[in-house]
């Protein structure tokens, strides 16, 4: 593999650009995506290469352009609909949930909706309660949608390319705090299959299942745990649907203990689903209850001090693992 490094943001852009070069049906539509290059600067240069016919700026009108995207997908295009903040999927829910997710099934398979909803998650950007949520659990709940959560630059490129090539609607959540994170990204064409979890770090004492940026947090906690003699295995499911249940269960069976870390609200969240998958699948191999760590169940505060308290940290994961392993 090439040792070339890209930022998370560059990896996303490279994936989109490569796919647009490969397939003329691919286009991107959203707010501030063309001249502005996206508020997070992830799309800078694309409009220069592909023109305003394929990198389309819209008014502030999420429901409208999401609907345009669904319609375009039904009629043979492969749109990427850019929803700047994940919080705004509240506005595109009907297009995602009742239209995109259902059309293939309700048409007896005659209609395909190969659309990508590209959006963000993650707190601690000091963006307050309406721009800091991680709402991926909402769409993970709906049959007919696939949901990807890239945890680093390599995943950002590979999962985006898979999403664009998939014939089903895919919602891809990028962590807005990770755009400047660098990591090795192959220059050559590659994709990451959906529904395949990756063991980021092998261990024997406790399994930490982590999503998106929480993978970095979990790896940091694993390092701390190593110093006190606890060997943690860190697994990134990469997609919440399809979900690689088998690999998660196998890991929990091996270690007898599991922690699930995710930046969505803890209650009724991604952590609950994954924890129950593990509890059901690995029950007779568990030596402790499965522990969930999600974001605090509060509207994300604007105050930096308070906001930082709402998200899982290396320390909180470390402490939870320590307790679970009964090393007080």
């Amino acid at each position: 593999m090439s040792e070339r490094e890209l930022t998370y943001g560059e990896a996303v852009k490279e994936a989109i650009a490569e796919e647009m070069r490969r397939d003329p049906r691919v286009f991107l539509i959203g707010e501030d995506v063309a001249e502005a290059g996206h508020p997070f600067k992830t799309l800078v240069g694309l409009v220069q290469e592909f023109g305003t016919q394929r990198i389309i700026d819209t008014p502030i009108s999420e429901p409208g352009y999401a609907g345009i995207g669904v319609g375009a997908a039904m009629t043979g295009m492969r749109p990427i609909v850019d929803v700047m903040f994940g919080d705004f999927i509240t506005l595109t829910m009907d297009q995602m949930v009742n239209q995109a997710a259902k059309a293939h099934y309700m048409s007896g398979g005659k209609i395909k909706v190969p659309i990508v909803f590209r959006t963000t998650l993650g707190a601690t950007r000091r963006s307050a309660a309406q721009h800091s949520q991680s709402l991926h659990a909402w769409v993970s709940h709906v049959p007919g949608l696939k949901v990807a959560l890239p945890s680093g630059p390599y995943e950002a490129k590979g999962l985006m390319k898979t999403a664009i090539r998939d014939d089903s609607p895919v919602v891809i959540f990028e962590d807005k705090m990770m755009y400047r994170v660098k990591g090795p990204v192959p220059a050559e064409d590659y994709t990451i299959p959906f529904g395949v979890a990756e063991v980021k770090r092998a261990g024997t004492d406790v399994t930490i299942v982590a999503t998106s940026s929480m993978v970095t947090v979990a790896l940091g906690a694993a390092k701390m745990l190593e110093e006190i003699g606890i060997s943690a295995e860190v697994i990134d499911p990469r997609t919440t649907w399809p979900l690689d249940k088998q690999r998660l269960i196998e890991s929990a069976k091996k270690t007898s203990r599991a922690i699930v870390v995710d930046e969505g609200y803890e209650r009724y969240g991604t952590t609950a689903e994954i924890a129950s998958v593990i509890a059901e699948g690995a029950f007779y191999h568990l030596d402790a209850p499965v522990k969930r760590i999600g974001a605090m169940d509060v509207p994300v505060p604007f105050s930096p001090v308070l906001e930082d308290l709402t998200v899982p940290t290396e320390k909180s994961v470390f402490e939870a693992a320590k307790t679970l392993c009964r090393k007080a």
């Binding site: 007779y284 568990l286 030596d287 402790a288």
Partner: protein, 447 residues
Amino acid sequence: MPTNIIMPALELAQESGKVVHWLKRPGDAVQKGEPIVEIETDKVTVEIEAPASGVLRDVTAREGDVVPVGQTIAVILAVGEVGAGASAPAVMPAANAAATGAVPTPPVAVNASAGAVKASPLARKIAEQHGVDLARVTTASGRIEKADVLAYVESQKAPSAGDGRAGRLVAASPKARRLAAERGLDISALRGSGPGGAVLTVDVSAAGRPAAAAPAAAQSVRPVGAPGVGTVWRIMAERMTTSWTTAPHFYLVREVNVSRLVSWLDKARKQTGAHITYTDLLVKLVAAALLQHPRVNASWKDGTILQNADINVGLAVAIDDGLVVPVIHRADTLRLAEIAARREDVVSRAQAGKLRPADIQGGGFTISNLGMYGVDAFSAIVNPPQAAILAVGRIADRVVALNGQPAVQPTMVLTLSCDHRALDGARGAQFLGALAELIEEPLALLV
């Protein structure tokens, strides 16, 4: 059939007990009714008597072990009988606790607040159908529900079923359970190191290994209280903290002339020939004052004031381990010599650590006397759930104003600490006034 000796439930909310001392060794012959082991609960240390005659075997609880209520700690085998092994499973807290004979049957007349059985209507109906005496059903919450009655019924059936295995599900992690089953180990016989005594994988592994490792694991199990602090002290600390942080206290102070009390003591000693103390006189007078002012003989509970049916006066007694409050029940009905005899009995047993649960239950009011330590006056903390406690200072000659002239009289300072949720200043003052009058003129008892 072997007779199980189980950790008895001596109190309503008791979850575990500590084995203090085995009076008999494995292999010893025991007679039914003979004390065989000393058990310490949160409140008292009691001797448990042999529920049957035979030979003591399979002692699974070591001295110092804290054991959940209902768990078998040993068995008694009839002569010629062969033991089932150390793994005799544990069941039936309520039923067997009664069977050991260690639990005194509840007194017929008990405090309304303490003695009344709280049961749901459905529980009562089911109890009636099964002929269950609800007083014998114990629950952690103190409230009896349908499930508790059914569990009791089940527990009654269990012994005749042979292995007595029904009842309590041993807490264990799923993995520990599976491993124990795979290795043919009885999980109920394993000592759990997990939360709430749950058996974990490590415990199963330890059990699988021979000898050496086991005692070490046993030592690490849940200590009672911090090092150096006994159960009595810990309970005192907890109860006083509860009282101080939940009961709003106020204090009423009154100096009383004890000239008559002093001469009454002399006479009483001569008449009865008994060793009567000021405390005994105060118990008698407090009981009389409580009779006149029943509102002081009460408790604040769940937003309401519960009136005690009987006049049960507790005495704060200092012992090596801390503070205990044995109760002189129905003190208003006792003659002075009876009060003295009862007081002598419970105080000496308190100091010997031999109080029984019944000795400390049902108190409605407490007297704390530090006069013998030379204390002039002090403010006590209310002994929950009671409404008030009387702090008694020493008797001393003090200068008082009498008809515009200084005079010297023997006096005593009484401080009544009250829980303001159950009492107000006026009611407390009326009670203290009545008590003061009785102390200053004990003859009023006669009218």
